[in-house]
Symmetry: C2
Subunit: 328 residues, 2 copies
Amino acid sequence: MSIRIGIFGYGNLGRGVEAAIRQNPDMTLAAVFTRRDPAALTIATAGVPVVAAADVAAWTDRIDVMILCGGSATDLPTQTPALAAHFNVIDSFDTHAKIPAHFAAVNAAAAASGKVGIISVGWDPGMFSLNRVYASAILPDGQDYTFWGKGVSQGHSDAIRRVEGVADGKQYTIPVEAALEAVRSGSEPTLTTREKHTRECFVVAEEGADRARIEAEIKSMPNYFADYDTTVHFITAEELRAEHSGIPHGGFVIRTGKTGLSGEHRHVIEYSLKLDSNPEFTASVLVAYARAAHRLAAAGERGCKTVLDIPPALLSAKSPEELRATML
Amino acid sequence: MSIRIGIFGYGNLGRGVEAAIRQNPDMTLAAVFTRRDPAALTIATAGVPVVAAADVAAWTDRIDVMILCGGSATDLPTQTPALAAHFNVIDSFDTHAKIPAHFAAVNAAAAASGKVGIISVGWDPGMFSLNRVYASAILPDGQDYTFWGKGVSQGHSDAIRRVEGVADGKQYTIPVEAALEAVRSGSEPTLTTREKHTRECFVVAEEGADRARIEAEIKSMPNYFADYDTTVHFITAEELRAEHSGIPHGGFVIRTGKTGLSGEHRHVIEYSLKLDSNPEFTASVLVAYARAAHRLAAAGERGCKTVLDIPPALLSAKSPEELRATML
């Protein structure tokens, strides 16, 4: 029996989930749910119904796992608990500071409905979290470092576009190579915000706008840019479209630590991602965890979980026997 | 209550476990078991009993998890099932091809005794296996690559020492940088054995031995060296001791894959280890999984498991709430 997946929200992430389902022969896309007018939405998969979000509860018996593809700011805090009352759910809630509250809300809903919810699935939180936990459990006497990039930060790109005189813009977060090397050396350096990442902005200015003022305003923006070495490039709208329309991202999780009776041996554990498409990779992680949610629900589990609670074998389409024989 | 750990076998790995336990405040070394004369063995931890292996069954109520530190060739295939009749056990069984048979033997013993066994814990099998499974579940349309080194291969060093005229020797396995780069490019190259790794040998020749014959014999040795580009350096016993007495190792697990409706986006997932001490790092992984075994046993689980079956949170000394608040 194929695992029947529902997609709730059809933006970049929802389209990524739709594509990822095609790479997993044990899954089927059952329906896409949207808050827009379903008649106005064309999806990439022929024959799959597009349903109004308001009608989702009628699909309880036709969806094994619902993958939520909304945003963390306003969509997921209400949508995930609400949908966990009817479905096994997966989301990519990524506001780190609010994860405990979100967990509690989803857990209450899923425990009551007898469903499984897995929240904060993706790569950070997600695969990066896993690697932080594994590495710190193995090397308790050590230090964790997370670097992001090179990649597009949506939040910082939005901030650029709010500056007066900016028609469009894109921001790349770039890890500082010297900082990465210092971390890999095992010296456990203390690094400032400025030492870890630089920020590179590609800006399309409106005609006649004061470029010097725009550049100064971006570079001094608190929280977003003031604490970083920031570079601003003015380019044309055509250049932006041609060279900066992708959504790449990635990063590094590194832990270094010591072992031995007197800490005489050093070790470096490094995990890195280099992603052409941030939403498609996140979607691929969501789909793998949907398989786990389905299996956990079938085994009688209920309530909210995170990637830290899921046995790795449950993500794989292969059987435990096959995994032991071929992947261990 | 501290987790009471037993160490079964006191070689490099056993000493590594002893050191790792000191880095984990929730654990105590309860006893070391040896097949040697216990009176002749001095361990690094004062006040901890050294016990004859033959007397191990008397310790059932005083050990929460037994960590087996013997070899995969002859020790673990019999020891792990035998000890699983009395204890929760962890081993580092690393003969990949024989894992299914070993799993079956340990599972039968642990299921009957009501204990938990976790086998093939370490870094390969172990952390590398985890990364192969995670990455292939996330990117089904892709390719896995594992590289080892730079590091000392005990098996290859032993092979060198069996050559006539060789007094001592050490062998390093080295990944080929060009192969790593080709893999990271996402081109999914097909690589031969020779293209992936080189082998570097440091050899102490006996006085008067024919060095040319030794070098030729090493380089043409089937299975061990014939399929590789091998370099042989003759050095003195003093140089070997001064520069090659460590047991470093490491390696890389890389998966590249495509996503998107027509596979238009590429992704690279890379996990790497750089280890000053192979046995101490392996020991640190064993100790983290001992914590998981203790928790699983306390929760009523029984039978054999591998790293693929263990929820990551169980490895950490932190509570699930703390992990969600600080590490996710």
